[in-house]
C-alpha cells in the first residue's frame, strides 16, 4: 500500500531583476517529480547538491511552497486548497545539520518535548518520563535530559533529532542527509540505529542522500535526481545491478571500494564510464539540460532515456 505519493511535483522560484525588479525567470528547483513510497519501506532519493532532493523533502513537509503537482499522504491530499490537512504528527523530518537544527537555547528535554507539547497536554512528570523513554530508545543517557545541545557530539545531536522526530509516533519520516554532516566513523552507527528504529516502529522513510553507498544498505527503492528531475528510479537491485542511465552508472562507479585487490579493475571501470559519460551525457538530456520523461523498462524500473527515433 502506498503511503506517500508525489505526483508531478514542481517547485519553482522566481528570479527577479531588471529596472523594476520584475520576475525575469524561474529557478526550477524541482520540475516534475513523481514518487511512490510503499508503507514500511525506505525510499532513497539521491543526487548531487542542487538537484532538488532536499527541496522535494521540504515540499512534502510543507516547508516549501509548491508550484504545481500533488502530494498524497495515505490517500489524503496534503496541498489541497482551502482547509489544510494537518498531518504533521504523522510526518516528521530529520535534518541534515545536527548543529543548526537543535535550538542552542533549549534543553534536550524542551527540544524533544516540543512536538508532544504541541499535540498532547500532559503533566510535567509524565512528559519527562516520555522524553526519557525516547532518549533510551535512541541510546542517549538519562542525564542528557537537562543538558544543552552544545554539550553533545554531532552523532549524539543527531540522535536527539531522531528522538524528537519519533516522539509523535509518525508514520513517515523524511531524513534529509542525516549523516552527511557527521564523521565517517559515526555515520555507520547512526545509520544502523535508524534502521533499527525503522523496523521497530514500522516506519516509512524517505532517505535523502548524495551518496549511493549510504543508500544501498538502507533503501528498498531508489530514485536518482538530476537538475530537478528523476533520471532513474527502481528497486535497489535494479539500480545497482542494472543501471541504465549514464548518470547513474557514473554515480555507482564513484562508490569507494575497500577491497584492495580490485583497485585496478575499479579504476578501469571508472575510466570507461567516464569516457562514456563525457561522450554521451549531453545526449541523454533534453535541450534545456534536463532529464527526459521517465520510461518504464520493467515493472519496477524506470529510466529517463531519450525518445528513440
Amino acid at each position: 500500500m502506498t503511503l506517500l505519493e508525489i505526483k508531478d511535483l514542481k517547485v519553482h522560484y522566481p528570479i527577479k531583476g531588471g529596472f523594476f525588479n520584475t520576475v525575469k525567470d524561474h529557478v526550477k528547483a524541482v520540475d516534475g517529480v513523481s514518487i511512490k513510497i510503499p508503507e514500511g519501506t525506505t525510499y532513497g532519493l539521491v543526487g548531487e547538491s542542487g538537484s532538488g532532493k532536499t527541496t522535494t523533502g521540504k515540499a512534502v513537509m510543507g516547508l516549501n511552497p509548491i508550484t504545481a503537482g500533488d502530494i498524497l499522504f495515505d490517500g489524503r491530499k496534503l496541498n489541497a486548497s482551502g482547509k489544510k490537512v494537518d498531518v504533521r504528527d504523522d510526518i516528521q523530518m530529520i535534518f541534515q545539520d545536527p548543529y543548526s537544527s537543535l535550538n542552542a537555547r533549549k534543553r534536550v528535554f524542551d527540544i524533544v518535548a516540543e512536538p508532544i507539547r504541541n499535540y498532547h497536554r500532559k503533566p510535567k512528570n509524565e512528559l519527562a518520563e516520555e522524553v526519557l523513554t525516547l532518549l533510551d530508545r535512541v541510546g542517549l543517557p538519562r542525564d542528557a535530559l537537562y543538558k544543552y545541545p552544545h554539550e553533545f557530539s554531532g552523532g549524539q545531536r543527531q540522535r536527539i533529532g531522531v528522538a524528537r522526530a519519533i516522539a509523535l509516533n509518525p508514520k513517515l519520516i523524511i531524513a534529509d542527509e542525516p549523516v552527511s554532516a557527521l564523521d565517517v566513523s559515526v555515520q555507520a552507527q547512526v545509520l544502523n540505529f535508524m534502521q533499527e528504529i525503522q523496523k521497530d516502529m514500522n516506519l516509512t522513510m524517505m532517505f535523502i542522500a548524495h551518496d549511493l553507498g549510504v543508500v544501498r544498505h538502507m533503501c528498498q527503492h531508489i530514485g536518482i535526481m538530476y537538475q530537478g528531475r528523476l533520471v532513474e528510479e527502481g528497486t535497489a537491485e535494479d539500480i545497482f545491478s542494472n543501471p541504465q542511465h549514464i548518470y547513474t552508472k557514473r554515480l555507482i562507479a564513484a562508490i569507494p571500494d575497500t577491497n584492495v585487490d580490485k583497485i585496478e579493475r575499479n579504476l578501469e571501470v571508472r575510466q570507461t564510464v567516464k569516457t562514456e559519460y563525457d561522450q554521451n551525457f549531453s545526449d541523454s538530456l533534453d535541450d534545456e539540460g534536463r532529464a527526459f520523461p521517465l520510461q518504464s523498462i520493467s515493472e519496477t524500473h524506470r529510466v529517463a532515456l531519450p525518445v528513440k527515433g
Partner: protein, 376 residues
Amino acid sequence: MDNKYNNGRLGREHEEENTEGMSEQERMRRREELDDRASASDGRPRSGDPFEARSRDTHRYEKGDMDMSVKADLPHGASGHGALDSKNLPKSTPGWRILIQELIADKLALFSLIIFVLITSYVFGLTMFLDRQTIVAVDLFAINEPPNEEFRLGTDYGGRDIFGQLIIGTRNSLAIGILVTAMSVGFGIAYGVVSGYFGGQIDNMMMRVVDFFMVLPFLMVIIVFVTISPSYNIFTFSLIMAAFLWTGTARLVRSLAIQEKELDYINASRTMGSSHLKIVFTQMMPNLIGIIIVNSTLSLAANIGIESGLSFIGFGFPEDYPSLGTLMAYATNSQTLQHRWWIWVPAAVLILLMMLCVRNIGEALRRAGDARQRQA
C-alpha cells in the same frame, strides 16, 4: 546576511544621518552594517563584533558561544531512577548568569554598574521625600545664591534650590530614558521580528516604512511635535520620542531574524506543529535576547543624551518640571555659564557620569556575548 535580498536593494540600507551628534552609536552601527555587506563575501566574522557579523556558515558551529549557557556538571544518574518530579530536576546555569559573571569580571563595568545603581536608588529614594512644588517655587529673596548651608548647591535665577532640582531632574531624565528605551526597543523588536521572520512582501512593505523614518530629521520632527502637542506628560513625551527612535532596533532585529530563520531549528519547530507565534517567541527570541539586551543598554545611554539635549534647547519639560537638560539650559545664559557654575556643572557631570556608566555596562555585555572576548 541575506545577500540576494541586500544586493537588490542596496539603497535601502541608508539611514538618516542628521543625528546632531547625539547618536554616534547609531552611526557606528550603520557603518558596521555597511561593512558587513562589504565583507559578506569573505564570510569570516569580523573581530570585535560577532553579534553584528554572525554569518551562518562560519558561526553555527560556535552556537555554544552564543548561548552563553554553562556546562551542566551533573553526576551520572542524578536524574536517573524513578519518577522525576519538578522539584529535583537538575538545573543548568542559565545564560543570564554568564552575563552577570562577565559584568563582575569586568572591573570597569562592575564599577559603572555600582555607580549607576547607587545614583538610581539614591535619586528615586530621595524624590519620595522631596516636594516638587516647594523646590520649584520661586523665592525672590534667594536668587542665584552660591552653595551655602541652606542650599547645598545654591539657587538659580528664580531662587529655586539647585540640589532639589538636580535630584528631581535626574529622576525625570532617567525615567524618560528608560521609558523611551522600553517603548522604542519593545516596538522595534516586534516590528523587526515580524518583518524578518515572515519576509517577502510583508518585509518589503515594512521596510519601506522604516526607510521613510530613516530619512526624517528626527530631532527636528520631535521638536515640531512637542511644540504642536497641546499638553504632555512624561508618558506622552516619551511616546513622541520613541515614535522616532525605534527604527534602529527594528533594523537590527530584522537582520538577526533573517539569519536566524534560515537555521533548521526553526524549520524543525514548524514540522513539529508549533505556531508561528510560538516559534518566534519561544524558539527565536531566546537566541536574540543577548543582542537585544546590549542594544537596549546602548540605546538607553543615547536616549538619556537625547532627552537632556531636547530639554537643553527648550523643547523638553518646562522649568517647573526639571530634567537634567533644563538645568543645563541655564548655561546658555553667558552670565550663568561664566559665574554660576553650581547651576550647570553638577547636571553636566551627572549626565556624563550616567551615560558613561550605561555605555560601559553595555560594552561589557557586548563583550560577554562574544566568547572570544570574555574575561570570566
